[in-house]
């Protein structure tokens, strides 16, 4: 009897479709009679449109419509419950809130005609001087009203002042992280088609359900009239997690021209259309006793918000949750700037975690204590924010195993003490941590067909994390079917409702629903088998019957068995199960430890990342292959954030100066060493998803600080402003 498919390093079930091109992404959608839209974007960052000359564009070859705020149909701005968080729809009024805001939409028969006509649209502006610099506007920082997506503006436990007062050793430091963009491989694309009052939108989105609800709200349509489809996503990283205006605008113009309309954003568009990580400033004070026990943490995070929202996604959650510390305060302040709204970018917690883990390294030096030892001394079995025990937390073992694999014991802690032939060597470490769950659950439906195979569906998304594969594994495990006997379908708002594929919640939410649906299906199958007088399991107590390898069997006499196929053939009709979303999924934390080695050329400050070891505790590992890939991807993001990534904005015009992959420096393969990955792989007993917790974003936290800490160890220079460029290493 073969072992469970859960825990096996299964290759992606949709892998062949992706590498052969059979997988259809939003921009691949073929719709008869499709026309093409191109956006005209504002060249000013603040002010208003005083007029738009559309005469030439309208008369250009192939043009079906030129839409501005003067002739665009009026649309309802969807509410935040649909994950439409922008607060306004462009092309509805003349107000300009940021550079790159759409001011007109041109629709034409071909893409070339639309692009050409878009160049003929001539807006006139009344421009005001924009404010886009966080540094220049820090005195305008304020405490916004609480919002469930921002975390508390002010959180306090204990007495921070007293805690700092009583500390033997204190560290106070300021850290900053720049504006960054998601940079998914696939720029957002969409095709909107109307059939009478029924709207179908193929769009690249992490949340088919949210986008459907935002379209319903914008057009005042019932749910059955709007369908959003997205079976494959070319990366999202949060940039496709919100409901954005473009699908609404494209659907609106499609209705006007009475033709399906397609819009594929350009790479440059993605630097203003899909959100970003807001620039941040962190002010940290950390106090500890001489033996390294934390007495207080005071963490103030100031970040950019837009003119139309005040959501703060760079949440210092790790500071509140991870370490045993009686006195903690986190404060989140906002500064309004003339920039687009920010949103979650990769892991939004990466920024707050970077500041905390950097400060702890500074504290370790101030205490003359090993940074691993400092973290071990402050490990907590409970979530320090809620006071509840973690479901499980093997962070201490992550530190120990990581340190051993890395060879940490050979580290000479003195900065500048480790060298090789041509430069300085630095070793640094940090904790990786991210919330998992704590969101509403997902629904799912299941059909066991007459041939004994099963199909499970949920309106979730595979952002590249491996949802298709791990949900197939979970379903197969519970149903006792081989992997090929289960098909998991996602990416269609017509499927049972699910939460947006974000915030490391897909395994706890969708995984729970798949477990529940598959359990009900299996139990109904067993009920059929024990009720059937011709079945070898006839008359058995259902509790004695289990499912494996496509068969139901008597656990006390496994040779007494019957194939799923046989039970279903005799039953003669499919088994159908629908499970509605659980009210909530338990809020948990997944954790890990990163160790990094850098080489620094002391003459020019050039930093090369040489080695990375990451050991993680995500509960039970459903699929070691996709989990490992998730770590590699997260680590690469961290390399970029630590060393090269930075969106430059012109301080006077408010325009992104680096709207392409040549100017915005993502790491290339040559910048990324082998990432050594290990998992503790012990089930979380509180998990509703076979012992697994959410894990997606954990690996994109922590490594930035481990790299910064390694640079300090190599050079004795603490660069507190990301990215850590050669200039800053030399200058500091």
């Amino acid at each position: 009897m073969s072992a469970s498919v859960v825990g096996r390093a299964v290759s992606r079930v949709e892998g062949v479709a992706k590498v052969t091109g059979a997988a259809r992404y939003a921009a691949d959608t073929e719709v008869t009679g499709v026309t093409h839209a191109v956006l005209v974007k504002s060249t000013i960052a603040r002010g208003r449109v005083t007029g738009i000359d559309t005469a030439k564009a309208t008369a250009a070859p192939g043009v079906l419509g030129v839409f501005t705020h003067q002739n665009m149909p009026r649309l309802t701005v969807p509410g935040p419950q649909t994950m439409f968080l922008k607060g306004f729809l462009p092309v509805q009024d003349g107000e300009i809130r940021y550079s790159g805001q759409p001011v007109a939409i041109v629709v034409a028969g071909t893409l070339e005609q639309a692009r050409y006509a878009a160049t003929l649209v001539k807006p006139a502006y009344d421009a005001e001087t924009p404010q886009v610099s966080l540094a220049a506007n820090m005195d305008l920082a304020y405490l916004p009203e609480p919002h469930p997506m921002s975390g508390p503006p002010v959180y306090t436990r204990g007495d921070v002042a007293a805690g700092l007062e009583s500390a033997d050793v204190k560290v106070a430091a300021e850290y900053s992280t720049p504006l960054q963009h998601h940079n998914a491989m696939e720029p957002t694309a969409m095709v909107a088609a109307w059939d009478g009052d029924r709207l179908t939108v193929h769009a690249s989105t992490q949340g088919v359900g949210d986008l459907q609800r935002s379209l319903m709200a914008a057009f005042g349509l019932p749910g059955e009239s709007v369908r959003v489809v997205c079976p494959y996503l070319g990366g999202g990283f949060g940039g496709k997690a919100l409901s954005w205006p473009e699908p609404i605008l494209v659907a609106a113009v499609a209705r006007q021209v009475r033709r399906p309309v397609k819009l594929v954003l350009t790479r440059a568009d993605s630097y203003t259309a899909s959100g970003h990580r807001a620039e941040t400033r962190h002010s940290l004070q950390v106090g500890a006793t001489r033996d390294g026990r934390l007495t207080a943490i005071d963490h103030t995070l100031t970040q950019q918000v837009s003119r139309t929202d005040e959501l703060m996604f760079n949440n210092p959650g790790q500071t509140r949750v991870i370490y045993a510390c009686p006195n903690v305060r986190t404060t989140q302040r906002a500064v309004r700037l003339d920039l687009p709204i920010a949103n979650f970018t990769r892991s939004p917690e990466a920024s707050g975690g970077h500041a905390l883990e950097s400060a702890l390294d500074e504290l370790a030096y101030a205490l003359n204590m090993d940074p691993v030892e400092l973290r071990l001394r402050n490990w907590s079995a409970t979530n320090q924010e809620t006071g509840h025990p973690h479901g499980s937390n093997h962070l201490r073992e992550c530190y120990r195993r990581g340190a051993q694999r890395f060879g940490w014991a050979r580290r000479d802690p003195r900065p500048g003490s480790m060298r090789d032939r041509d430069g300085l060597i630095g070793w640094g470490m940090a904790t990786a941590a991210h919330a998992s769950g704590g969101v509403p659950g997902a629904g799912a439906d299941l059909v066991i067909k007459e041939d004994g195979t099963a199909r499970i569906r949920s309106a979730t998304q595979d952002v590249g994390t491996g949802t298709y594969t791990v949900m197939t594994q979970i379903g197969a495990d519970v149903l006792g079917l081989p992997l090929r006997g289960v098909e998991f379908a996602l990416g269609d708002s017509a499927f049972p409702r699910s939460v947006v594929a974000a915030a490391s919640t897909t395994v706890p939410s969708v995984g729970e629903a798949v477990v529940r649906a598959a359990t009900q299906g299996r139990d109904r199958l067993i009920a059929l088998a024990v009720a059937d007088s011709k079945s070898p399991l006839h008359g058995l107590d259902p509790k004695r019957v289990a499912a494996r390898d496509g068969h139901l069997f008597d656990t006390e006499r496994p040779s007494r068995r019957i194939a799923h196929r046989e039970v279903m053939r005799r039953h003669g009709k499919p088994i159908e199960v629908v499970v509605s979303p659980a009210a909530f999924t338990p809020r948990r934390f997944s954790v890990g430890a990163y160790f990094a080695e850098v080489h620094v050329d002391p003459g020019i400050g050039r930093i090369r990342l040489r080695r990375v070891v990451g050991v993680f505790d995500p509960g039970r590992v459903i699929n070691p292959k996709t989990a490992r890939s998730q770590v590699i991807g997260g680590a690469i993001w961290c390399v970029g954030i630590a060393l090269t990534e930075h969106t430059l904005v012109d301080p006077y015009l408010g325009r992104v100066l680096t709207p392409n992959l040549s100017g915005y420096l993502l790491p290339v393969n040559a910048d990324v060493p082998d990432i050594e990955v290990d998992f503790i792989d012990r089930p979380d007993p509180s998990s509703p998803a076979l012992g697994a917790r959410g894990f997606g974003e954990v690996p994109s936290t922590g490594l930035t600080a481990a790299i910064g800490n390694a640079v300090y160890h190599a050079t004795g220079v603490r660069v507190r402003d990301l990215p850590i460029t050669p200039e800053k290493v030399i200058k500091s």
Partner: protein, 287 residues
């Protein structure tokens, strides 16, 4: 964004090529790795695109007498596959432009005509004393690369002239090109340095040093090269040369880097480049 259509021409001979380039608004299209995005961005509006890649005389690398003749439309990938030391400083650059896909399209002539201050093959062309062969209906002229550049993305070539080939004299010695970038690959030079050294009996008898991305054009620094002649290229001589290199540079702050850091990088990068050229010079046998 393009606002007009254009005519595409694909001449097969040099005679047709120079006739086509005489058309008003004609642009030579080689690999298109710069021209296509520049046109898409609306920076240029060619009326006629003359594809130079199908003219036989513009492809391939041959030895002609005491020079190596490189067809202007020879791709960087084809160049990068050559072994043989006499083109080292050019090949060092050709191998690191963009990504493999870019190098399959991009050409040496295109890199020269683009005349970016940061062009990775240009410092090599300078130190190896390359000569550009320009042809038009008015005839042929040979312009040393050292006289080619007139400013950022500007040069002496007239729009009606075709760059047909680049000739590099075969000389003894070793050469090298190194650059500083923020990424290890797929990046544009923030600073670039090329060097050529001719060594006899351990003594430098001739030298050339060129710098990129730190001045309005790639440029030779003759004063730096002169300090090396007559020395063994010892640390002191190299340090001296580095001072001249820094003095000849005038870097700016831009989105890719700061003036300060470019100046800081220039010295060690010059030194590294000279040491690599020296190693190659000492290791090379006469051609």
């Amino acid at each position: 964004m393009p606002t007009t259509g254009f005519t595409y021409l694909r001449p097969l001979t040099v005679a047709d090529l120079i006739r086509d380039l005489a058309e008003p608004g004609a642009f030579a299209l080689a690999g298109g790795t710069d021209l296509v995005p520049l046109r898409a961005a609306g920076a240029i509006t060619p009326a006629v695109l003359v594809d130079v890649k199908h003219v036989a005389e513009l492809r391939g690398v041959e030895t002609e007498g005491d020079a190596i003749r490189i067809g202007a439309a020879t791709t960087l990938a084809d160049l990068g596959e050559r072994d043989g030391r006499s083109l080292d400083a050019i090949l060092d650059g050709a191998k690191i432009v963009g990504a493999a896909q870019t190098r399959e399209r991009a050409t040496l002539g295109g890199n020269l005509c683009r005349s970016s201050p940061a062009g990775d093959t240009l410092c090599g062309l300078l130190v190896l004393d390359a000569v550009a062969e320009l042809q038009s209906l008015d005839g042929i002229r040979h312009v040393p690369v050292r006289d080619f550049f007139t400013g950022p993305s500007r040069n002496v070539k007239k729009p009606s002239e075709a760059l047909v080939s680049i000739r590099v004299p075969v000389r003894e010695g070793g050469s090298a090109y190194r650059r500083f970038t923020y990424r290890r690959s797929m990046d544009l030079a923030v600073v670039g340095v090329a060097a050529w050294l001719s060594i006899e009996d351990g003594v430098c008898v001739n030298a050339a040093i060129a710098i990129g991305a730190v001045a309005p054009t790639p440029r030779l620094v003759p004063a730096a090269a002169e300090t090396l002649v007559g020395t063994t290229c010892d640390d002191e001589a190299i340090a001296h040369a580095c001072e001249h290199v820094v003095a000849a540079s005038s870097p700016i702050d831009d989105v890719r880097g700061t003036r300060d850091h470019r100046l800081r990088v220039l010295r060690p990068l010059t030194r590294d480049t000279l040491l690599l050229a020296l190693t190659r010079a000492l290791g090379s046998s006469p051609p």
